[in-house]
């Protein structure tokens, strides 16, 4: 039944609807694919028994004519989402064997619509990283390899497990989260589609917090349409998240395939950065040509504060993280390392539980928030953040969406950027602006580089205008006709 894992989510839902196969058969095929893909290290916890049980329940619902929008579809869940009764770790030793007694709103929405959980997916510790190398469970290996090479490549991060498992056909789609690019960069590195919706679309309740004003959940999927189906289920108002938007969820799938004729697409000139590989520049030109052919009007726009987005992010995100991660004190849950007194117990617990990158960010966050530096760093960064958001507001007076590359390179080798934090941070140069402004952004696989590795194009939309992104993303997907898949080596 391996062919069942090759299906898109949409095709699988259609097959379930016309009784070509049962959810139990579909789920069994994916459970076997997951079990056989250990070398990828994409899953940190497999839940095959739960999956089969959920699949049986789905088949029973369908037999009664009560199937939901995702009924019977096996998905992977990033281990940043709390799942009731199923270990949730954020891939940090400090959460150890944490077993939530509650379910995150986003995953609860997926189960409400009938989805099946295959297990929990690997990520950078607390979603802090761009290569999955900071995970306490070790890095995920990208299913893609350079042609003629066996070198291990990163699937990107932080949602590396989500991206790798979708690319390797281990699941029909996966949940992910994006604080500075953690959905879109891994999607670009693995030839998958990823969308970070407008801040406030998806509830953050039950998602382990990193930087609360930037964190947003979204799907990684095989196609633009699959991403639209998943996002529709994940979204919706939730009183338990005070930043959750109390507005209707559009029928996102209905936007895929809509004509994009007459839409104005902006090309921000500041995204042409020094040292960008010629292939990415070329792919961007190709994307522009595709959209022109589809009837879009291309407009050059300026986002003058783009280069300040990453440094501003590396104040705002660590500051929020240092505050959010103060809860890991060894008292109520998670790891505890005893010391001679209370303070020492705190210090030992956090020293033993957090990895080096998380500690580094907590220290930066604590430093920029500390007495004497708050105005110079934190307040300054919040003002620059406003400037960046204003840039977008001005651009969107002239255009309906923006087109940029997703990442400044294709997937790189494990360990390549590990010694230089700033070099690693530069991975998010094209994605982080969107988080600061709270806008939706989507990555679509659009081509391969000289080594046969996938490259992505990013669409940025107006707040709450994911619909236009799904239409434009569908147009790029159709024109690119990206069919390449990683050769199975695992």
């Amino acid at each position: 039944m391996t062919s069942l894992t090759k299906l898109t989510l949409k095709a699988a839902l259609d097959g379930l609807a016309d009784k070509s196969f049962s959810s139990q058969e579909l789920t069994q095929a994916h459970v076997e694919a997951v079990a056989a893909a250990k070398p990828l290290n994409a899953f940190v916890l497999e839940t095959p028994e739960k999956a089969i049980e959920m699949a049986k329940a789905s088949d029973a619902r369908r037999a009664k004519g009560e199937a939901g929008a995702l009924d019977g579809a096996p998905l992977g869940i990033k281990d940043l989402f709390c799942t009731e009764g199923v270990r949730s770790t954020a891939c940090s030793n400090i959460l150890g064997n944490f077993i939530p007694t509650y379910e995150s709103t986003v995953t609860a929405n997926l189960w409400r619509d009938g989805a099946v959980m295959l297990g929990k997916l690997n990520l950078d510790e607390f979603a802090m990283g761009s290569s999955n190398e900071t995970s306490a469970f070790g890095p995920v290996i990208n299913p893609w390899r350079s042609e003629g090479s066996n070198a291990k490549l990163t699937p990107g991060g932080s949602s590396g497990g989500s991206a790798a498992s979708v690319a390797a056909d281990l699941c029909l789609g996966a949940t992910a989260t994006d604080t500075g690019g953690s959905i879109r960069q891994p999607a670009a590195f693995t030839g998958t589609v990823g969308i970070k919706p407008t801040y406030g679309r998806c509830s953050r309740w039950g998602v382990v917090a990193f930087a609360s004003s930037l964190d947003q959940a979204g799907p990684i999927a095989k196609t633009v349409e699959d991403a639209a189906i998943l996002l529709k289920s994940m979204s919706g108002h939730d009183a338990k998240d005070s930043t959750s938007l109390d507005i209707d969820v559009p029928d996102f799938p209905s936007f895929v395939g809509k004509s994009v004729k007459g839409l104005r697409v902006g090309i921000p000139k500041e995204y042409r950065v020094d040292g960008m590989p010629a292939e990415i520049e070329k792919l961007w030109e190709q994307g522009i040509a595709w959209l022109k052919d589809a009837g879009c009007e291309i407009v050059e726009v300026s986002l003058p504060h783009t280069k300040y987005a990453l440094p501003a992010y590396y104040i705002v995100a660590p500051a929020e993280a240092s505050s959010n991660l103060a809860r890991y004190d060894g008292m109520r849950f998670g790891l505890r390392e005893e010391g001679a007194n209370l303070t020492e117990t705190y210090e030992n617990t956090r020293a033993a539980g957090f990895g080096p990158e998380v500690k580094r960010r907590i220290l930066i966050g604590t430093y920029v928030l500390s007495a004497g530096y708050y105005d110079a760093y934190y307040l300054k960064a919040l003002k620059v953040r406003r400037r960046i958001a204003d840039d977008f507001d001005q651009a969107f007076e002239k255009v309906d969406a923006l087109l940029t590359p997703t990442a400044p390179s294709a997937a790189f080798g494990l360990g390549e950027n590990a010694d230089d934090p700033v070099a690693m941070y530069l991975n998010d140069i094209f994605t982080v602006t969107v988080n600061l402004a709270g806008l939706p952004g989507m990555s679509i696989p659009a081509g391969v580089d000289v080594n046969g590795l996938p490259l992505g194009l990013q669409l940025i939309g107006k707040a709450l205008d994911e619909g236009t992104l799904f239409s434009l993303g569908g147009a790029i997907e159709k024109a690119a006709d990206f069919k390449a898949k990683p050769a199975k080596w695992w």
Partner: protein, 95 residues
Amino acid sequence: MAIDAATVRKVARLARIAEPEEKLEQLASELNGIMTWIEQLSEVDTDGVEPMTSAVHMPAPMREDVVTEGGDASKVLSNAPKTVDGFFVVPKVVE
């Protein structure tokens, strides 16, 4: 201004993370690298700019001041490192 070992020691203390003395110099150098890169923000003219504290264009919602969940101590305690008789056990706080 450069971050030295003494600053790292102080910040690590504030953050309640035990960092061994022998690691302070290396951490200072890493943090300096990052903060030097961040310094470029000083180039941006932000006079009269309102700090942006939220990406959501809406007032914070109000809700009824009522208990919505609770009353299940066993759930609350289920992940605690140490418990006795339905309580968290923590190190002595007051001498």
